[in-house]
Symmetry: C2
Subunit: 470 residues, 2 copies
């Protein structure tokens, strides 16, 4: 086996001296994950500028049997882009591969390289009167390649689907260093297996996504947003049905918040206020949007009035200005920050069938009340997709350690309940390193067997993101 210095010299020959980082101060930001759960080491950090350079690096890793960890904006929640502690893996950052290669308004498509920051893709679309709907908290720093590798979700899934659903074509370097040029911008293409859907969500274990052709929509010109109070999650599911029937695909967000989310954000985040004058047990933040000039506020008001007549809601505030709308969204988006400021927390990114949300919340809440010490449930999220961030916050800083020590039992109980409801232990954050053991426990052996067979077939030397997902 060659020594590290010899390998680094070869690597510099592949991507140029300025494309290889080896000094601790330079590499440090790449070697720790967003949540500071993992700190890895690396042979080097490679920063290729072209697909050809990526292909060369992957082929070289394959030849030397070196583990390769692709990384986008490094905003993942499951440690999927952090190398292990051996110091023998190569960190491949896509950040310099960041050109918008093409955008076609008539074709409603954009082709972006993996390292494009999500917000820059949104902006490029907007400049041509088009709309790219993927939207999430980290959109200012996450990269489209990472969004695809992890099949990112976010705030508009109820209308537009996950990252996989937004994809028309893909370019990727396969584990043997060959470039799969699947950058089609076709709406229909039935010529063989769906390799692009397989690469999306494979978390860098089957290849390196280098570019993607993505679907665009017409730019949105109208919107209406409401903050709705409800007695129960049952009523939230019914309200969702009413909104889908009366507003159709114009429903673009449907977020659930419990009372405690208001209490945490109004206490810890400066400027956040309760949109309603009375306290209620549950809230829905919903938004309609349309590319046409439509009276969506009236439609939303009428729909909520119909829902009120059916006793589905207790109160509601409509956003009367962009400022109010932004305030509603700020409340929703700062829940994680408020939780962080409030103390430690245990997080579970889970989903169940939308219709099962009420029963799941009821049963899981009872369990938390009965079994968790020094913790309080903060269960919120993308209810329109059945996706909850089923988090538990420590309520006593002094007892943070004993609170956190309950993690294994709490995780087991919640994930067991998710399984009972035929749900998912990772709705939108993926598996990475964090949930590997959980996947092994909860996935069907037949599914795991098929995944392992595919991994072995495409990456027989196991160089692609070793120790992640499978």
């Amino acid at each position: 086996m060659k020594d590290d210095d010899a390998l680094r010299t070869e690597l510099r020959a592949l991507v140029g001296a300025d494309g290889v980082l080896t000094e601790g101060a330079d590499t440090a930001p790449f070697l720790v994950d967003e949540r500071r759960l993992y700190r890895g080491r690396a042979l080097a950090v490679a920063l290729p500028r072209t697909v050809e350079q990526v292909a060369r690096v992957v082929g070289w890793c394959n030849e030397h049997r070196l583990g390769l960890v692709p990384q986008g904006g490094n905003t993942g929640y499951c440690g999927g882009a952090t190398p292990d502690e051996s110091g023998r893996q190569l960190l491949l950052s896509l950040r310099r591969l960041n050109r918008i290669r093409a955008i076609d308004a008539d074709n409603f498509s954009i082709t972006a390289e993996a390292g494009c920051v999500l917000a820059s893709v949104q902006q490029a679309a907007d400049a041509l009167e088009r709309f790219f709907p993927l939207s999430l908290g980290s959109e200012g720093s996450c990269q489209i390649g990472g969004n695809l590798a992890t099949n990112a979700g976010g705030l508009n899934v109820v209308r537009y689907g996950m990252a996989r659903d937004l994809l028309l074509g893909i370019e990727a370097v396969l584990p043997d260093g060959q470039v799969f040029d699947g950058l089609k911008s076709l709406r229909k293409d039935n010529t063989g297996y769906d390799l692009k859907s397989l690469l999306v969500g494979s978390e860098g274990t089957l290849g390196v996504i280098t570019a993607a052709t993505l679907k665009l929509w017409p730019k949105m010109r109208s919107s209406a947003t409401a903050f709705v109070a409800l007695a129960t999650p049952e009523n939230a599911v019914k309200l969702l049905g009413v909104l889908r029937a009366q507003a159709g695909e114009r429903l673009s967000s449907f977020e659930l918040l419990p009372r405690i989310a208001i209490e945490l954000t109004t206490r810890y985040i400066s400027g956040v206020t309760d949109p309603l004058t009375t306290a209620y047990p549950w809230y829905i933040l919903c938004e309609l949007s349309s590319a046409a000039d439509e009276p969506l506020s009236e439609l939303l008001q009428q729909t909520l009035a119909d829902a009120a007549e059916r006793s589905l809601l207790l109160d509601a505030a409509l956003a009367t200005s962009e400022r109010v709308r932004a305030a509603f969204w700020r409340l929703r988006e700062t829940v994680p920050e408020a939780q962080r400021l409030a103390g430690s927390s245990l997080k579970h990114d889970i989903s169940v069938p939308v219709a099962s949300l009420p029963a799941f919340i009821s049963e899981a809440s009872l369990w938390v009340q009965a079994h968790v010490r020094d913790g309080v449930l903060v269960c919120y999220g993308h209810a329109g997709d059945g996706n909850l961030h089923f988090n538990i916050s420590g309520i006593d800083r002094a007892r943070s350690e004993t609170f956190l020590a309950q993690e294994p039992q709490i995780r087991r109980a919640i994930h067991d309940l998710v399984a009972k409801f035929a749900g998912s232990i990772s709705a939108e954050h993926g598996i990475g390193r964090l949930k590997r053991e959980e996947l092994r426990r909860y996935a069907s052996p037949v599914a795991l067997g098929a995944m392992r067979a595919i991994k072995q077939a495409l990456d027989p030397n196991g160089i692609m993101n070793p120790g992640k997902l499978l």
Copy 2:
């Protein structure tokens, strides 16, 4: 190797005597494809009633290295469900596996077994005020398992996507006889590789789909339909942009027809009349629909008026009644029948990026005019998806043979042009047996290599639908 009679006896033990057909008169309908391109032979036709029986049959075929050909409604256009001529393959019909297992209105989902006829899935949804959008000419006889195995498209793709996009969960028997139970009804699930998307469109070469959980929408309560005359395909693409901007996702169909489609259908199909009083070169049949009670006719009328102001259209007829709407659709849907009645034809199910439709049609039409003898172009289809049925009809019955003899050169020229426009040689019909050689010619070697590796990994004995797709 066991003789045929011994194998048939074993098979009867697996699925019951009434589940195995061997007599020529009984098996004949299963052994010829819809277009009468292929006539195969089979060891037997197996008709299992349960997933367990399917698993037993697949495991048994794997053990005996017998080729297995799954078949749904047998309505495919590419010979993908017809066995070869050896008489040693087993035909597995899913038609008796035809229960609706569950339907959940609140969850907007339905779970149907593979043998359910598509129309019966639509009807089951409708009975609960829900809508299942997959719609195609053969919906009265095609089966949902076949729709998924071939990733069917149809008339509503512009709004709802292909069959793959309608899928939440899948149950399938893998080539080793194991049951993959992936019947989740989750909107979000990031736990590993997307096996369901891989099975969809794999045309029975990676396993047998036995059931699926599918997305439902609210039942549609309003619609508006127009038959629009245009000067050019360029204007059709621009009109599509205007409709998407002003009607948003309410646009559910956008079909292109050339003048000759009117001439053929009005001449050969009884009762079809030209919706407009003057002849025009091109037409769009478009439809808006909504789950709400909305004045869609007014919206469509206003949108078309705006388009007319921008000189995008020449004339338009709005459907003023369900009867008129049905007449518009009958014209569109009887184009293939009119072509058949007019004489022989050469068909190409292709797609290009939507924005490239005009340039493709222009260049391909010029080629046809210059090179095809005794034929006339009938180019129509799902323009909203960039999908054309680029067909050429023989115009002189007496010269049908010499017309058809041009098939190889015509196919080569059209598919070469499709490749030049970065299109697909099979937009919605799949590969089957018909287009295997074409796939080998036009697919990238890297993509083909990855597909073969996956096939080898999941079906090492090559029992699943041998000779199809790859």
